[in-house]
Point group: C2
Amino acid sequence: MAVYTEVSDAALTAFLQAYEIGTLLSYKGIAEGVENTNFFLHTTAGFYILTLYEKRVRADDLPFFLNLMEHLADRGLACPQPIRNRGGQALGQLCGRPAVIVSFLEGVSVKQPNADHCRALGRALAGLHAAGCDFGMVRENNLSVQAWRPLFRSAEAQADGVAPGLAERIRADLAVLEAGWPSGLPGGVIHADLFTDNVFFIGEALSGLIDFYFACTDAFAYDIAICLNAWCFDPDGTYHRDMGAALIAGYEAVRPLEPAEVAALPILARGAALRFMLTRLVDWLNVPPGALVQPKDPLEYDRRLTFHRSAGHARDYGWEG
Amino acid sequence: MAVYTEVSDAALTAFLQAYEIGTLLSYKGIAEGVENTNFFLHTTAGFYILTLYEKRVRADDLPFFLNLMEHLADRGLACPQPIRNRGGQALGQLCGRPAVIVSFLEGVSVKQPNADHCRALGRALAGLHAAGCDFGMVRENNLSVQAWRPLFRSAEAQADGVAPGLAERIRADLAVLEAGWPSGLPGGVIHADLFTDNVFFIGEALSGLIDFYFACTDAFAYDIAICLNAWCFDPDGTYHRDMGAALIAGYEAVRPLEPAEVAALPILARGAALRFMLTRLVDWLNVPPGALVQPKDPLEYDRRLTFHRSAGHARDYGWEG
């Protein structure tokens, strides 16, 4: 929630001269975005988002993210479309940072989604997976099962200070997940971070998906598992089976799940919860002095894991096939 | 530079039902505004700014500010226009805060203004003074000369820790200013905070004035003095006489200064510098823990005061009458 890099009118005006999007009318720093600096940008040609990538984003990954957004937008998915400059480049440089202009997407994030929102999300997620099928680039999921033990090690000594018994619970989950993590599931491009912040609605209709900076190549069903975690729980850990059912049904209306995906759903959901718990835990224990961003509570996912440990079948999540 | 109050989609949608500005398309928290929380707001009817007033704004003063903006906009001044709800009220309540929707103003703040910008500013300032002439409300300037000694007292003990000899310099300035502060100058509504952040340009043309939350009833020439301080100095304290000349000439093209105003200009400029030095000094010495906003450097104004102490006549500021 911050503007990390100030951009002067003169610097921005000079930057825009490389683009064919008219002249500057206004721009405002947006108080969102944990990783990057974003500006709402209005020119005589229209509305845009200008993003400056701060240190946490690996510059090597930017071509994957930008090409992916362009690919998906070309196939009709409602997502930000990178604007190429006169030199044909989407990636520029502004105030010493890699910088990109993307099309502005209307819509509002829903704080408390209902089953209708979840159904629309499921449809959009399947649409994203389908649109990404012929995307030519690959990016390994560097926050999947192989990353969790190293993350845990960096937080292990302090974990019980966050919640009693937390280290032991994580240890047990890790053993189960590493032993049983599925491979060979249908896969391709996944969003991998489709929280409510990253899905826009206008009224009841889903209007777009944003923030592709965790997108990678992995099992499609793992993306569903992430969404079930992100959308279908109360903060107290209560699972809303009706919302999960709507999400999965929405997805299957576009792409029916294969039996192996249905079978894997519980372990994928448990793994997704552990993934977010671990990255939140590490962030929680490593708040830099003077941080502008409040870290998210890892224990929300500790509570979700209680549900996942007791779930044995996709039906427990609402699958009704 | 912060969003102090989070506003959910549901809360905002409910709030908007009291207005006749269509339905919500998008909103983004703006990373500007030291005092308040601002959102960029797009509805089916257009673009707006939604402001939630945080604790530092006295709720009693809001009717003055809002009625003034409405008055000025009615007279054709390019400034944010408060939108009245179906009940005829400009001031509403959202998330426990006084809240207002105003029209969105295009334009960009110029970080490094030149003489042309200053000339345009002078014209706009005189236009503001003229447009405010028949405004019926009065608000005392509670940051004028009578406020400076109490401000200084609260910072006096720590002042020399900020810069050697600072307390003594302030003491001497205060004595001169309190003894010679002019009264009876032509006056009315002044903006009182017309820094570069609060003036928008599109290309070379001034497109609007914003942020009327220090507006009050005081001498017009004091507003000029504030602008000379805010626009015509380098951070190192160098005064740009050509920029001051353009600012004053721009102003006088709309409203020529009276002899008493010309005579008072040096002391008004010195007083304006002390006013911003003192409030910055107090903020500098009282940064709350976990503050999201970096305080501004009071010593910028200490350096400007060096110039003001040596200036004896309006000609030193560029007046060429």
